[in-house]
């Protein structure tokens, strides 16, 4: 490594320093408590900053996609735009609908936000900068990823408003449907890595990133990323907050601080999904020259920009399309993928190829490219065939679209 080692271990170094200094003056348990609290504070701030940067990036990119300029007033390139928005939101009046269920109404944003913060605890920013090397890390993440659903339903229900209720139910249905392919699409990677801890998985990609695993890797990635986007209700899966259909969906009645929390949670989720994807498929901190956590953040951001790209280009799905995609296409694919992964694992193909070093990596890459190309052609053929025969696009309901969605 060309860079000084302390850079490589920034967070750990700082934590150790802090611990040492406090230990000089305070009793042990208090020290632990304080360091923990400080850590939490740092984490939250970190997330907040992260989100602001994300928001700025997203707005800029979307603007460029839509051939606009985007925020450019506050600060250079409008970098501080999101800060301004945040301040505005904080200072806004906090409105609660008259016959809303106050307690639930108040709790909902927290229920949405807290888990998405908790996820950060297991993200392996670096081989030595992982707050908790949880043995069941990925499972922990998936488990926490289900809490926001409840929060959203709470919000929708508590607001005592038909649109919000609809949004809540939509969210519930959508998340429940997409949880299944999400979990299943992660399994192949777990199978290959032989562990469920994110740190372990990242660590296992010393030789080659799992995106390179023939067929399995790319397929798993596509499935996981799609399901993840759906899980966090981002476009094109943003039915729970579909402006054109149900105004703002579940958080219609929210304003000010509470809305900010929802907002925060949404982007935090976006980040964590990208981060997980980066960990599972793109080797986490593994990279060259730069320190690990930088690599991690870079990969995460690239993936996040992919999300933004998708939002900028893809139209929102219809409800029945949404369900069909989850149950009729992604679920079977995940199962097939799991099977393939088992084959790959038992055949020991990857290991043997990787024994050639970087040449092996190239071979895997080539294989994947070929496969992807073939699949792409096949998909097009199939698409045309289906259109030609049944007159129905592949992603639509099997019943005529005239019957419409059945929420």
């Amino acid at each position: 490594m060309t860079i000084p080692s302390f850079l490589n271990d920034l967070i750990g170094q700082i934590g150790a320093l802090l611990y040492y200094l406090l230990g000089l003056v305070l009793p042990a348990w208090l020290t632990v408590l304080l360091v923990t609290l400080i850590g939490i504070a740092v984490a939250v701030t970190f997330v907040a900053v992260l989100v602001m940067s994300q928001v700025w990036a997203e707005r800029k990119v979307i603007a460029r996609i839509q051939d606009r300029v985007g925020p450019n007033r506050v600060g250079p390139f409008g970098i501080l735009q999101s800060v301004a928005d945040a301040l505005k939101l904080l200072t806004k009046e906090d409105i609660v609908p008259a016959n809303a269920d106050r307690l639930v109404f108040a709790l909902a944003p927290l229920v949405v936000l807290v888990p998405s913060l908790m996820i950060f605890a297991v993200l392996p920013f670096n081989w030595d900068a992982t707050i908790a090397r949880l043995d069941v890390g990925i499972l922990y993440v998936l488990a926490l990823a289900t809490f926001p659903t409840i929060g959203i339903v709470m919000a929708g229900w508590a607001s005592f408003n038909n649109y919000t209720l609809l949004g809540g139910m939509r969210a519930a249905a959508q998340l429940i449907s997409y949880e299944v392919p999400e979990v299943l699409s992660v399994m192949p990677i777990v199978l290959l890595a032989g562990t469920m801890s994110l740190w372990g998985i990242a660590n296992a990609q010393q030789g080659a990133w799992y995106i390179l695993a023939p067929i399995v890797g790319p397929l798993a990635f596509v499935l996981f990323f799609t399901a993840g986007i759906a899980e966090i209700n981002r476009s094109p899966f943003d039915l729970p907050e579909a402006e054109s259909e149900i105004i703002a969906g579940f958080h219609m009645e929210y304003s000010g601080m509470r809305f900010a929390l929802f907002f925060l949670a949404e982007y935090a989720n976006a980040f964590s999904v990208s981060a997980i994807a980066a960990t599972l498929f793109f080797g986490g901190w593994h990279g060259w020259i730069l320190p690990g956590y930088l690599w991690f953040v870079i990969k995460t951001y690239v993936l996040f920009l992919v999300m933004v790209w998708a939002r900028g280009t893809l139209p929102r799905l219809r409800y029945d399309q949404l369900m069909n995609l989850a149950w009729k296409i992604m679920l079977p694919l995940t199962l097939v993928n799991l099977l393939l992964a088992a084959l790959l694992k038992t055949s020991g193909f990857m290991e043997s190829v990787l024994s050639f070093g970087w040449l092996g990596v190239l071979i895997l890459l080539a294989i994947n490219l070929v496969v992807v190309y073939i699949l792409y052609r096949l998909y097009n053929q199939l698409f045309r065939a289906v259109r030609g025969s049944a007159g129905l696009p592949l992603l639509e309901a099997t019943q005529p679209a005239t019957q419409g969605a059945r929420p």
């Binding site: 042990a28 348990w29 632990v32 269920d101 639930v104 709790l107 949880l134 043995d135 069941v136 499972l139 922990y140 998936l142 488990a143 926490l144 289900t146 809490f147 659903t149 409840i150 339903v153 709470m154 229900w157 209720l165 809540g168 139910m169 519930a172 249905a173 998340l175 429940i176 949880e179 979990v183 469920m196």
Partner: protein
């Protein structure tokens, strides 16, 4: 030191669990019951962590809060009550329930406290996911398959029951 933390955590989560359970039973509105159920289940998961069953904790959250509670919420939203009906059974039934529950509780506590448990030398604290996986695919293979079958049947049955027409 971790002892202290663990003890504190236990009492905190135990109390939240009990409170959540009571909330499920006592909440006037069904939706609140569901909320309290989430609390109870979540703290149960925490208890699992304290029992160094992290895998189980994750599964608990994944299945219960991820699936069961959501389903419950669904059911609540799909079955709106037109008129306000009494949420509690008549007093006599209440009393009966209380008596039975308390009697059973007393008996259980008595049994628990009086039982000479064959305690292990030191509590079992090892990463569970590997062992569980091992067990599921060797010793408990048959129950495992059976469980999957049960789930399949339940799924089909649920679809059949809940579909309109």
């Amino acid at each position: 030191m971790t002892e202290v933390v663990a003890t504190i955590a236990f009492w905190v989560f135990a109390i939240t669990a009990v409170v959540g359970a009571l909330g499920v039973v006592w909440a006037k509105r069904v939706f609140h019951s569901a909320m309290f159920l989430t609390v109870a289940l979540g703290s149960t998961a925490a208890i699992y962590v304290l029992l160094s069953a992290d895998f189980l904790a994750a599964v608990q959250i994944l299945v219960y809060t991820g699936a069961v509670v959501i389903l419950v919420l669904f059911a609540i939203m799909l079955t709106p009550q037109s008129v306000e009906l009494p949420t509690f059974a008549p007093g006599g039934q209440q009393l009966g329930g209380v008596i039975v529950a308390l009697a059973l509780l007393a008996l259980m506590i008595a049994a628990i406290t009086n039982q000479p448990w064959p305690l292990a030398a030191q509590p079992l604290d090892q990463p569970t996911s590997f062992g569980l996986g091992q067990g599921l695919l060797t010793t408990y293979l048959f129950p495992f398959e059976l469980a999957s079958l049960v789930l399949l049947v339940a799924m089909i049955g649920a679809i059949l029951l809940a579909r309109e027409d």
